[in-house]
Amino acid sequence: MKQRLLIIEDNEQNFYMMRFLLEKSGFEVIGAGDGKEGIEKALDTNPQAILLDIQLPEMDGYAVAAELTKHDELNGVPIIAVTSYAMVGDRERVLAAGATGYIEKPIDPETFVAEIVRYLPASQTDPEG
């Protein structure tokens, strides 16, 4: 069974790139265009990990992360923030808001998937698994 990942990202190209790379590596990818949809899908689809953009319209990534951690059913699901390098203090804020990990944009296609896998629970390292 494929591992399911939820990507909450409003930029279509970024979403496309991440989905492309992750699907190439055998992950099932579910997308959400804003925070509210992301929370709904996280609760509905039971993903193994959530990739969360910080600069989202209306409800930003910090708020989404904070909301996600309130739900017990998502307990143990890693939330990986994907955000710009320029925003000083973002890493700390994101981690404080409840994210598990942090990946800088621009993403490096060569290392991106490997970084995501690092955050997944050890038993499920093989996406084809």
Binding site: Q13, N14, M17, F20, K24, Y85, A86, V88
Partner: protein, 738 residues
């Protein structure tokens, strides 16, 4: 008191003394002659003592006495009328035998002979018009006093006046009648006559007696010198008898001519003693009265001076402690008016530019009147002009000269006296104070001098007040300017803050908006170059690599610009976390290793054994390492790039040295300025924003570290950074303080 005691003593002792001498007096009584000799007697007009009565006959006390004696002695009296002076001359020329009513003096003793028992005792008294107000000799100061010419009182009174320091103009007249007439007509202010004449004539002439009495004297018949011994001895003998008998012709005559009742039937010697005693008593009382008056006058004078001094003191104190100009002007004028006891005055200030006197304050008999600067006068139009122009007091005792106005006097009043005093500060006239009078009131020169004396301090006080006003005005202006500037600054500050917020927002937006498309470019080219979208031919691979390289360069540029902007705006925050410096350096060196390998440059990292953890912003510190390493590799064509890391006390030192092109000495100083890339032919070959070293320097500054460079043109450079270990302060964050 002393005088009274002496008088009392005389009263007791004198009668006893006279009793002892009385028998001797009787033994001198001469024989009665019956030879019918002719005795020529001078007559002049001095009623009731001697005068010519309405029927043309001689009369008076002296006449009664001499006729009584002549009858007893069998003399044939022959009267020779004339004035007092003529009578004396005739006596001296032996044209007459006796002259009545002659007071005994040492001078006359040498010219005439006198008998011993006085016919009358008299004194001189001053008479004046009724209501004259003359109460003491001091009141006669400056008055015209008329006396009988060549009389004793003329000299005596002159001496008395002199001893009191009085200036009295003495007029003489030939007889008493004229004397009283002159005073009655106002040709003289007071007259001096003997008491008998005054007693009889003063009321009739419309005059009254004053308390001024002097020079008591005994009156006798006088004969030519050494020619009339028997005559005079006979007169003495009879006088003793006459005076001892209260019913005698002598007392009848006195009563008749003076209307004085002789109440006491006392022996004449007792009466004489009483009279003498009374006179002494009277004189001593008079003396003490005069003394007392003199003391009173001096006391009055002193208290007047004291009052004047108090006015001056009050005025000067008030004006010199006051800083309000109007108050100073009012107090100064009030002081001047109090000193001169005048009711009108004004204080004007000089306007140098318009040459006009501007009234500052004015007072008239009816009180202060309002003044306005529009009622100013040009110098020359008013009486104060001379004081302003000459710088000296200018006093008009008799009103304004023709053509001169006194603008401040209101109504129809005519100015009768005017004194203007210049107000000067350092010889410059700043105004004028004037006092004037519309009545006959005239201040003394002393008072005017006092006013002049206060003008100096008053002028200074005015000057001080004006300076104070200027200072106040300037400080108000300054305060206002400061307020305005502060408001302007506040507005500017607000705008600057708004601009700053806009800039921050702009930076945040740019950061996101520029990066997002770059992410796509870099990401997708990477995907394609990885072959994830299918194999690329050689040319595609080459071109996609160029796209990727350009995109990465563009991203680096954007990052640099954003970094420097943030640093300069003070918005860059440094994280602070402990990390292993050794692995951080190894990681960074690995990043440039491929490039160095490509150029065939030796890349070596030497780390001292004591190097371990550091507390700093790892990403920023690595940014500095990477920048220095990239530069070293970029500018070195052959040779090596060596990195040395050492610990030094509580600091670490990292030195990056290369064998590259090096930097010219003159270019070293501007090396760490923004947008600086050494402009050489070679430099064009090298990419870079020119911001790298500038960012390095600022980051090192923010980390309390430093960066330095040594270089030799053509043979290589060494960049050295030094930063604190900071191990104990790791939880803190730091804000850049541009």
């Amino acid at each position: 008191m002393a005088n009274e005691r002496i008088s009392a003593w005389l009263n007791r002792v004198l009668p006893g003394l006279l009793l002892i001498f009385l028998p001797f007096l009787h033994s001198y009584t001469p024989r009665v002659w019956a030879d019918g000799r002719i005795v020529k007697v001078g007559v002049y007009e001095n009623a009731p003592k001697v005068f010519t009565d309405q029927s043309g006959r001689p009369a008076g006390i002296f006449i009664d006495v001499i006729e009584h004696i002549a009858e007893r002695e069998g003399w044939n009296l022959q009267y020779i009328p004339g004035s007092w002076g003529e009578g004396l001359d005739r006596l001296a020329n032996q044209e007459i035998d006796l002259m009545p009513d002659v007071a005994h003096t040492a001078g006359r003793e040498t010219m005439y002979s006198f008998h011993k028992v006085p016919v009358l005792s008299s004194w001189f008294q001053v008479y004046a018009r009724q209501g004259s107000g003359i109460r003491s000799i001091l009141d006669l100061d400056g008055q015209r006093v008329v006396v009988l010419e060549r009389s004793v009182q003329q000299d005596a009174f002159a001496k008395i006046a002199d001893s009191f320091g009085l200036s009295i103009s003495l007029i003489s007249a030939p007889d008493y009648g004229k004397i009283f007439a002159m005073v009655a007509k106002g040709e003289a202010d007071a007259a001096i006559t003997n008491r008998f004449y005054g007693l009889m004539h003063a009321k009739k002439a419309g005059l009254e007696d004053t308390a001024v009495i002097f020079n008591p004297s005994d009156l006798f018949f006088a004969g030519p010198k050494n020619q009339s011994g028997q005559l005079l001895a006979a007169i003495d003998a009879h006088l003793v008898n006459l005076k001892s008998d209260a019913q005698s012709v002598y007392y009848e005559s006195l009563k008749r001519w003076t209307s004085e009742q002789v109440r006491l039937k006392l022996p004449s010697w007792l009466l004489g003693i009483g009279l003498a005693t009374g006179l002494i008593l009277f004189m001593s009382v008079m003396g003490s009265v005069i003394l007392k008056r003199q003391v009173n006058a001096r006391t009055r004078d002193l208290s007047k001076r004291n009052k004047q001094l108090a006015i001056i003191d009050r005025t000067l104190r008030a004006t010199t402690t006051e800083l309000d100009l109007q108050a100073i002007l009012q107090r100064a004028l009030r002081g001047a008016l109090a000193l001169t006891k005048l009711e009108g005055g004004a204080l004007c200030l000089l306007d140098r530019d318009s040459k006009r006197l501007v009234p500052g304050t004015s007072v008239t008999a009816s009180g202060p009147i309002p003044v306005s600067s529009s009622s100013s006068t040009r110098i020359g139009e008013c009486l104060c002009a001379a004081a302003v122009l000459g710088g000296k007091p200018c006093i008009h005792w008799d009103g304004a000269p023709a053509g001169m106005t006194v603008p401040l006097i209101q109504g129809n009043e005519e100015m009768r006296f005017h004194a203007a005093f210049p107000l000067q500060v350092r010889n410059e006239v700043i105004g004028v104070m004037c006092v004037y009078s519309c009545t006959d009131e005239r201040p003394s020169e002393l008072k005017l001098k006092l006013v002049q004396d206060i003008c100096g301090p008053v002028a200074l006080a005015i000057e001080n007040a004006r300076l104070y006003e200027q200072v106040l005005h300037h400080s108000e202006q300054l305060e206002q300017r400061v307020t305005e500037r502060t408001e302007e600054l506040a507005v500017a500050m607000e705008r600057a803050q708004e601009a700053d917020q806009l800039k921050s927002a702009f930076l945040a937006t740019m950061s996101h908006e520029l990066r997002t498309p770059l992410n796509s470019i870099i990401g997708f080219t990477g995907i394609m170059l990885q072959g994830l979208t299918g194999p690329l031919n050689e040319e595609q691979l080459k071109q996609m690599s160029m796209v990727q390289s350009s995109a990465r360069h563009l991203l680096a540029l954007i990052n640099d610009v954003l970094d420097i902007s943030k640093i300069e705006a003070g918005q860059l925050e440094l994280a602070s976390a402990s990390f292993d410096l050794r692995s951080s350096l190894e990681k960074t060196v690995k990043l440039v290793a491929p490039q160095a390998a490509k150029k065939g440059i030796e890349l070596k990292l030497h780390i001292a054994p004591d190097v371990s953890t550091v507390c700093a912003d790892q990403r920023r510190l690595e940014q500095v390492f990477l920048n220095l390493l990239n530069n070293a590799v970029k500018f070195t064509e052959k040779g090596h790039v060596h990195i040395h890391c050492d610990g030094e006390m509580d600091h670490y030192i990292v030195a990056v040295s290369d064998t590259g092109i090096g930097i010219k000495q003159e270019q070293l100083s501007g090396l760490f300025q923004p947008f600086h890339q050494i402009d050489t032919g070679l430099a064009r070959k090298h990419e870079g924003s020119g911001l790298g070293l500038s960012i390095c320097k600022k980051l090192m500054d923010m980390m309390n570290g430093s960066i330095s460079v040594t270089s030799e043109w053509g043979s290589g450079s060494t960049f050295t950074i030094r930063f604190p270990r900071n191990q104990e302060a790791c939880s803190e964050t730091k804000t850049s303080d541009h």
